[in-house]
Symmetry: C2
Subunit: 486 residues, 2 copies
């Protein structure tokens, strides 16, 4: 057992096994990911999974996991919002694993309950909320946080008393179709949340974006007006602060004005861009976020935490009633009256890991300024990467980076749009197969060929400008090889 | 950074700091939880959170977390389905934190993608499913798993084509109110899921239970028949395999028959009872689970994993379509055709920690038999605890343990129901405040006073029968002290 007075001694040799196996796996990998096809890699995992037995299982499987990782700590692994965690955050998370507090009742997590509350107050202040008036909870990530924001929006507008749930069954009787407004570059979890909440994916009105993938405010205004003219119910506006692909920040102030005008809930998905709040240089990009009714933040993106480190915040605690819940075995009323606090009514989950702890330790260790410097470093790396792309005649930059990511593509001979798409997709798989680099791939909004783009997401502050230049050259070489092979 | 070739060296001294601080915190606590009121404990956490700074933050905050824990590794901490994790599982989880794979795309988790698939096949077989036909995903716990089962039930019955979402807005037009049938002792997440899904909490029909809190099958049959007579839509039956309070297992075979008869989805919430599948002695309690359309399992309960280790399984992969999702930046079609698998369409989350890894390592280290022996030990401890309760004239046992938990209460002089409730609630808070024991408290289903019960949940296989007897005596002493103080 990992807890109790002798837990640390029980853990010690096992952790030694893990660290050794991690080192062996990383050495054997020797790059951002292992060479091979998915089928070859899967065969290796199947062999280990079948062979692993008894006391040797931990070392054997850890080595396979490390060897078979796409390691965001490698400078040539720069595809996704997938960060290399800080060692201090990982060490803190070990304490959480060992003690196993669960945030659904005080008597499973006495200290962790207070720590989560304190951390949330600090993060609320970072967003610009009044920390006393705000409320929030740790989540599994932006997808859950976006769901929570839209759930509160639904329950507020469609009406519900505390403890009784909204009946969507009542909606069509009123004839007013509920609508959610989000840009065409908003995260897919917005549409998925609408479906989960019973509103249907097509409750989401897709608002056009500019070249940088930033929501067009006039289009939002027009969409709201047309919807109102149709007698629909404007449930929520979801503004994105940091789109997944370009880091673009929607016009938050204008979104807040329109939300107020139409009586809609404003949710800001700052899962990626929230990290900018740590940087004095970049924080102004998010001006207006403090007017949002709720926000999503993810510290496993620009915050260097191991997954999960999502945060949901609501500006006013009193709007946060949907989940209020009395469970007789978790938070009986007389216990709360006797001073035993409960976080149960804040989360969609019941059992819940103390993810706040690693974030709190990281913030205290590095400070906002220390973390902000890491954000600035990654931003600068992205700018250097964009410069390197511009310097390559075979590459085409889509737009300058806003945060730490940018899109580009390889332009083959002839530049036929469908063929260009094909070559870009194939060169990326070639890089994966050869174990050379993990580069992102996406598509611009819209229809038809010519929309495939490659993506670099710079989240590793230990990467150098030279590393990024090497990564860009590696992409060009793969493009040339791909063209030659055809 | 924790990854890469030098990650292990960076982690080493920080992990030393954590293990030392865990030992200090546990020693200072010296019992199942720290002495003091919630306010006093919170003040200590606030002081540390405010003072922690720089390189000292990790050790300082870890010590506070450990001191301020309700530690399930202590034999006198036996309130909730809150298990002491196995050291090997905690060590495996460290590898996951350090490498930070994310299960939403292959290129963030090459080996972890295969490992999760292999583990799920093994667990499907454990449930009695055909592992080739089944599908599943790791979840944050029973609450998320129950939500997924009910989402699939909703989307199947209310109809949806792949990629298009159900419109609940269309429901009342048909006049058929969707209904979910669950016992009055089912987990509250069933009602909460109904609300989240837009069905309304009152879509849940509460089926009466027997003394042991087991669903009455004739009552279920009657409820289904009456609902059908009202022209309602039987969306799902939720059977509980291991209620939170008594471990009671609903009549699974009869539930399966009735689900087939009424065309309802059968979801089995085996978040607690699923652990019985590891034990040859207890597995027969769950006969019939293999007929469920979907199940919830939680290895952070009877499986000794650090949170989170939830599992959702569907018997037939083709019923698992609601979440099928093409995200151009995560699982483009041509990458899947080229052999790059994706788990994205299986989860409600996007970014997702590789929680399968620690479970896989644990299963390989101990084997099903090794884990089954731990389950049997805890079951036997619960039986010993019930015997100890029966031996105390001031205690009243509610029912014999089915799995590893049982309810009882202290019966004060006079035995007025409201006063008895008050004394039991107060003696539990006294035990918490004095740092002596963490005992559960719940209420039996129904109305009126006299329903408060204390609960012991035995999840620590290192606890001895003597420890349990001591815990029972501690409860009696607290009851006497509570009566005296009045």
């Amino acid at each position: 057992m990992s807890g109790g007075a002798d837990g640390p001694d029980a853990l010690d040799p096992l952790i030694r096994t893990v660290l050794d196996a991690l080192a062996r796996g990383a050495a054997r990998r020797g790059g951002p990911l292992p060479e091979g096809t998915p089928r070859e890699l899967a065969a290796e995992v199947v062999r280990a999974f079948t062979a692993a037995d008894g006391d040797e299982a931990l070392g054997l499987l850890t080595e396979v996991l490390a060897h078979g990782s796409a390691d965001p700590a490698d400078p040539l692994c720069a595809a996704h919002l997938h960060c290399p965690p800080l060692a201090v955050a990982v060490a803190a998370d070990l304490a959480v694993s060992a003690l196993n507090p669960s945030q659904d009742s005080w008597d499973q997590a006495p200290a962790a309950t207070t720590l989560e509350t304190l951390l949330l107050q600090e993060l609320a202040a970072l967003v610009g909320y009044d920390p006393v008036a705000a409320a929030g909870v740790l989540t599994s990530g932006g997808t859950e946080s976006n769901l929570m924001g839209l759930m509160l929006a639904r329950d507020r507008v469609l009406g519900r008393a505390a403890g009784r749930q909204v009946e969507l069954a009542g909606v069509p009787a009123t004839g007013a179709r509920p609508r959610i407004f989000a840009s065409s570059a908003a995260h897919f979890s917005v549409a998925r949340s609408a479906a989960l909440l019973g509103l249907g994916e097509d409750a989401v009105v897709s608002v056009p974006v500019d070249h940088e993938l930033r929501m067009l405010p006039d289009s939002l205004a027009a969409a709201l007006r047309e919807s109102a003219d149709r007698g629909e119910l404007p449930l929520a506006i979801v503004a994105t602060a940091g789109t997944t692909d370009t880091g673009a920040v929607d016009p938050l102030g204008r979104c807040a004005e329109l939300a107020a005008e139409y009586g809609a809930w404003l949710h800001v998905d700052a899962a990626y861009g929230g990290g900018a709040l740590l940087s004095d240089r970049l924080a102004p990009l998010l001006d207006g976020i403090e007017r949002a009714d709720s926000v999503s933040l993810d510290w496993h993106k620009l915050g260097w935490q191991p997954v999960a480190a999502g945060v949901f915040l609501a500006r006013r605690a009193e709007t946060y009633a949907s989940l209020a819940r009395r469970a007789v075995y978790l938070n009986p009323q007389d216990d709360e009256e006797a001073g035993y606090p409960s976080l149960l009514g804040l989360s969609l989950r019941t059992t819940r890991r103390a993810d706040a702890f690693k974030i709190a330790v990281t913030l205290r260790t590095l400070g906002r300024a220390g973390l902000g410097a890491l954000v600035d470093t990654c931003h600068e790396l992205a700018r250097q990467g964009a410069l390197a792309v511009r310097a390559e005649p075979r590459l085409e930059l889509h737009a300058e980076p806003v945060l730490t990511a940018f899109l580009f593509r390889y332009v083959p001979e002839g530049a036929d749009p469908a063929y260009t798409d094909e070559v870009n997709a194939a060169l990326r798989r070639r890089l994966l197969r050869e174990g050379r680099a993990v580069v992102g791939r996406t598509e611009l909004p819209g229809e038809g060929p010519g929309r495939v783009r490659l993506k670099l997401t710079l989240l590793n502050p230990r990467t150098s400008a030279q590393d990024v230049a090497r990564l860009v050259r590696t992409v060009v070489a793969a493009g040339l090889a791909e063209e030659e092979g055809r």
